[in-house]
Amino acid sequence: MGSMDEIVHEFVVESYENLDQLDQDLVALEGKPGSRELLSRIFRTIHTIKGTCGFLAFGRLESLAHAGESLLSELRDGRRVINQPTTDVLLRMVDTVREILASIETCGAEGDIGVEAVIEQIRAVLDDAATQSVPEVDIALTALGTMADGSEPTTASDSAIRVDVDVLDDLMRQVGELVLVRNQITRLVGGQFDGDLVRASARLSLVAAELQEGVMRARMQPIGHLWARMPRVVRDLAAVCGHRVRLEVVGGETELDRALLEAVKDPLVHLVRNAVDHGIEDAETRVAAGKPAEGVLTIRAYHAGGRVVIEVEDDGKGIDADRVVAVAVARGLRTPSQIAAMSAADVLQLLFLPGFSTAEALTNVSGRGVGLDVVHTKTEAIGGTVEVESRIGHGTLWRLRIPLTLAIISAIIVESAGELYCIPAVHVLKFIAPDGQSAGATVEHVGVAPVLRLRDTLLPLLGLRDVLESGHVRSPGVPSVIAVLQADTRCFGLIVDRVLDTEEIVVKPLTARLTGAGVYAGATLLGDGRVSLILDVPGIAHRSLIGQPMEADLEPTAVSPGPVGAANQVLVVGIAGGRRVAIPLPAVTRLERLSRDVVEHVGGREVVQYRGGIVPLVRLGGLLGQRVACVGEDLEQQGLLVVMFTRGSHTVAVEVQEALDIADDDVARHSQINDRGVLGSTVLGGRVTELLDVRHTVLTGDRQFFDGADVAPPDTTDVDRAVLGAVVGL
């Protein structure tokens, strides 16, 4: 029975691959209706599927493939020409075949997926033969053309075998180990004078390096695999949007580690959909602008600087930088003064900020919950970068830069408190020795917070010793080296004791218990066999940069007064870890103290019953990345303090530890550190207080909070000030 399962599994895998090719071929066929080469290939694929399912007794699939084959054989023999309805019905057949394959894969049987309707449609197209007859001459011509083309392309299957990915991963791991042993031996041999030993070690070194490269190459796949489905995606989407789009792909043979290929798939599909939906205009607009009616979408891949570059380019309307600015300001992501200091390229990078995605830009096509910020995060998660260039009226270019492999990364080894750490090179902008008077960099202190003044920008400065809480016991004086790091869209300086080396390191996964802290991305083994931790740069930025005591006047661009009526009342609350958070008072509907018993779980999320309804509960401490503290007995008895936000029929409860104060907030004093959930920070009553991103917080609890008919924002008169005062007075 086991061998039977194996045959079925192989059949499914092989068929999937063939179907991806089929999608591509069918769409290509529309452009080259006479291509016998394409037609033969399509016919062969369906024929193979049909044959195999006959053998494996998948009756429905067989009858479906049979119907498709009849239609294809007419096309192949030149008895009919391909047109849109024919392509549509064939694509529908391919989709149904996929559904059945998925069912076979999961439960081993065809399931009850209906094939009759599709077969019926194919019959209908077949019966339509009268109108489809083709003059004999054409057949002769196409036949001639085929002969001139020469033989059909040789398939790779003759010289290739299928290897389980696990086997490759295992090989990769072992090679990594071999490389480490090699390093160790090379070091041991270093002091020897035995000629044979030195020669043997050198040979080992060479063989290990070649083996490593060979195994890495075995894991590589051409990126063409990834965009085999793109023609279909573009075609379907263009049809939905009513746009005319021609897809051009360049460099499909560019190779990439298969793990990365998988990781880059979603971002790429998103960018392509985005380009078809928002980038390329409809035909009339294009013609009016003097452009061809058909838009061109180009996907390009190539190697550059030891990385793979993937570009998605359209010749559409381009991105209006002014609108980007307007949205960023309206959403409170950046202040006008910050934007004034930005370069044009930086402005477009704002698109990748979480929370940027505009509601009006969301359509059912590309707004599938995957915003550009997700493209950004996913790309960064694999050590890649994404950038955008655009010219209004001429088009937009999205560029992903991806490392060749995940398993081996380039890293810089630094020392802090006697331990060695690896910083992935992709995050390192430069190193600065502050005492060495390097290019206009000085360390200053504003309040207690050290900042790095680098030419005309101020960067927050963190000590790795502080981040890791490993104490300040180092020789007095200035920090030895500052690594200027970039994570997400922000830069910061990290003080380390010493910089040792750049090395290609083999990344070893780390147990979730250690990555949970958000400081380590993994571990590696150094040349001497010691374990070294790889720092998670975005994690450190996230963890340490919010709530850093920085005052508004330290940012040279922020001194201009804020909008009119800058002083707003805010409710100051405390969360775990002694942090203080300010919430704009007009946004608050009510403060309530609830018994802890009312917290219940719905589908893994916390809710409370409130005034006869069920209200989602957001733990502010958890949201802002504070580790959840153990609830003491006294707090247990006091119950749960929640801030209620209500809009129309939507209510969200936000749990806080304590309500501290109502204060006047001066917008001009805001500093510009921001993060998910926090818009910045300010000083209220002598204490650093973070400014809550109410929109983000509320959306965490209820995604539909701002949907539906526009309800006036909660009026301050709705605020039950008596209750508020009473609770604050507690």
């Binding site: 780390l510 590696t524 083994l525």
Partner: protein, 155 residues
Amino acid sequence: MSSQLATFTLAGALYGIDMLRVQEALRGQARTTVPLAEPGIAGLINLRGQVILTIDLRSRLGLEPLAADLEPMMVVVQVDGEVMSLLVDDVGEVVNVKGRRLEPPPDTLPTPLREMILGVYQLEGSLLLALDIERATGARGCFSSDTQNFTRSFP
């Protein structure tokens, strides 16, 4: 649990874990400390190219740290599919407890220790404490920096 227990000592007491869990015993491995890790995590070691978490059993069981001049040994075990190493004072013999009765841990044991003991076997001249390896290593998410919290979740 098989009847074969691999034993080791911690602060003078004899502990045992299921022999089938034990992969090997080591000495003299260079350990890399992990700042910010929860207490009880004693760092990472390189076990033939694999990066392995080390658990300080003394700390987990609420015992005093080992004297600085003594070097602990390591017992490499498999817990919940993960390989980790346990810091112990010394490695003992394999003891067959077939036919012996597992008695509940005495009430006099201090709390963190008591929670991590399955029971006690009486041997000739000594007691053998059978360790609950999942709890002792903090597998299955019952690892917490807060001992109070820990005991609360296992009343």
